[in-house]
Amino acid sequence: MKVAYWPGCVSRGFTPELHGSMAKVAPLLDMELVELDRASCCGAGVIAEHSQELADTLNARTFALAQQTGQPMMMNICSTCQGSQTECQERLDANAEYRERINATLEPDGLRYDKGEVLNKNLLWLLVEDFGLDELRNRVKRPLKDLKVGPFYGCYIIRPTDRLGIDEEKPRDRYLHMLIEALGGTVIEYAGQHKCCGFPIITMNKEASLKQAARHLGDALDAAADCLVTPCPLCHLNLDLQQPLAERYGGRDLGLPVLHLPQLVGLALGLDADDLGLARHVVKPTTVVDWSQSVVAGVGGSQSAGW
């Protein structure tokens, strides 16, 4: 499958292991990624907070660039990109007059967004709806047997349900559960799976932000999770990068590894933990690496994987 691929900013900035692991996993899924390397930041809701039209125009430009690749499908690997881009797309699609106004801004660069020409899906949705879980099951080389995985979705990919097309026919708020099972893992149900990681207020109310992260990590640990998996790199920042500080604000030891979605898929498809960049996480993914029977000493020590 060939898709226009929007990696996002954070996957190439503070979580380079996400972009890297996606590149490793794609060929194993026969996925050809046409990277939108000229597209801009989606605004993560913050640009829309400043000016709705600005966010809508920037994302219309991204959709227009996707359209130019000739691929009907655009794939992202970030819950926040999915949510904020879909919000803009909803407005662009809702009102032809507004759309034309935005297109007029894009026109000098020969770009144009047409309603219905771009279907923007997160890797998670694409795997379940287009690639198919049966096909994925067939390709699993190392089932995640006995690995207890807690799903962490990220707000932007599950709410609001109307806008994100979530209903009984497409239970996208259960897809991580379904995926973990398809990969042979055990799903851990815990209170925080659909809650907010706290990241958006990390600079405004650090205590509340990290207490949120700490609570969800703690709930997952109490439910006996070996690790979490998330399709959102911003959640990953609060849950992994900030975990040592979350321990301080939450008042308890945590040490729960948090995996990016393509990393979990990659492990099941037989890739090495090091190749997937797991050694780059702040919280050592010891439980996961032990499970994958890699050399424990290699984690954190080997710095050979380079993107």
Binding site: V46, E53, D93, C155
Partner: protein, 385 residues
């Protein structure tokens, strides 16, 4: 008629015993409401079940509860749908969250919801001198606040708020939506003061985590989170720089995306604390924050999580692509007035050619429309279906 099973959370503080679950079977058609189910259990099985209700038509806002873990009005949720979403086929009903329980499904709205409403001065502050006749307000400005006026004070958003779950002092979605009702009203005399107050409060408008839970919970399509974003936008217009880094964060984000085309995370953090310029990172507040975060910064660099080159210089779009992005910024920022498309007010095009009719969903329409989450709209297919 068919049988539905309800599992209610029971609690009587006067009894001295802990809360417990109790199951009831009711016989009703599937399109009847969960409230009718609870009332049948109360009428036929156990008269001591505590539930607050009145209109049974989703307008009085009395019967907010958690149904299968999600906040909703009991009278606004069908039994068959609730049963389909229940994890074991039994519809689970609990009292709302974030508020103390008085008895069974009844929570103390005074202790939380109404107190927070009072916090935002929920009345119009007159301009002086008071005009002799009525105020004349432009039609468009009143349309703008229609959405926040649709609130029925049920407290569903308060119950669902994930920020309040952690920080009980957060002013919260209902009260902040109410605040926008007056900030957006041209007749109010103290818009700047209202905004300044809510921006400076450490538990005010910048304490919202943008989790969309209140939008999902609201039975009237008020979308409280969107009203909070409007408050922030208007606070920016008034150039209110708050001690919570709210405005600095937004302005640094926008500047960095304009300068780089992509987000430069390493620069965003110090600028949010120290001010939106290259010098921001040298501000004492930025230094203090860096010191506080040192454990994670060192770990991140040691594990090569952040590439030092990207951390220092950021990643940029190719020059011509960045030029295109910057031209968009210039075009949009130079507009005399902000163009905002509120789908609650405008609704969706009936079809691709019908753009000109898009203003038809005016305020009257919005008030009379069936309130399937988003009054005034005919929600079309999601763009991502």
């Amino acid at each position: 008629m068919s049988e539905f099973k309800l599992r209610l959370r029971r609690y009587d503080p006067e009894s001295g015993s802990a809360p417990y679950w109790a199951e009831y079977s009711v016989d009703l058609e599937g399109h009847r409401s969960v409230l009718e189910g609870i009332l049948q259990a109360k009428g036929e099985t156990d008269g001591s079940i505590g539930i607050r209700c009145s209109c049974r038509a989703a307008i009085c806002g009395s019967c907010g509860v958690l149904i299968n873990g999600k906040t909703a009005l009991a009278c606004h949720t069908h039994l068959d749908k609730a049963a389909r979403h229940a994890k074991d086929g039994v519809i689970e009903v609990e009292p709302m969250s974030n508020m103390p329980v008085i008895k069974d499904l009844i929570v103390d709205m005074d202790a939380v919801h109404w107190k927070k409403q009072q916090r935002v001065t929920p009345w119009l502050i007159n301009k002086e001198p008071i005009p002799e006749r009525e105020y004349i307000a432009p039609h468009e400005s009143m349309v703008d606040i229609t959405q926040s006026m649709a609130c029925i004070q049920c407290g569903a958003c308060v119950s669902s708020c994930l920020s309040m779950e952690i920080d009980p002092l957060f002013v919260g979605p209902a009260a902040l939506a109410k605040a926008y009702r007056f900030v957006g009203d041209p007749r109010d005399a103290q818009q700047y003061e209202r905004l300044k107050d809510l921006a400076e409060d450490p538990h005010g408008m910048y304490d919202c985590t943008h989790c969309f839970n209140c939008i999902e919970a609201c039975p009237k399509g008020v979308a409280p989170m969107n009203q909070i974003m409007r408050l922030r936008r208007v606070a920016g217009d008034h150039e209110i720089v708050d001690r919570n880094n709210g405005h600095r964060h937004e302005s640094a984000f926008v500047t960095l995306v304009k300068d780089y085309g992509l987000l430069h995370e390493a620069e965003l953090l110090p600028r949010s604390y120290g001010g939106d310029s290259w010098f921001g990172k040298f501000h004492p507040n930025a230094g203090k924050e860096l010191l506080d975060s040192l454990p994670v910064v060192v770990k991140g660099l040691m594990r090569r999580k952040m590439n030092p080159k990207i951390a220092l210089f950021g990643h940029k779009l190719p020059k011509d692509a960045l030029g295109e992005v910057q031209r968009i910024f210039d075009t949009v920022e130079s507009r005399p007035a902000r163009d905002e498309l509120n789908l609650y007010i405008k609704g969706y095009d009936e079809d691709d050619s019908g753009a000109q009719d898009s203003g038809a969903g005016g305020p009257e329409h919005a008030n009379n429309a069936p309130d399937q989450g988003q009054p005034g709209q005919e929600p079309e297919e999601s763009p991502v279906r």
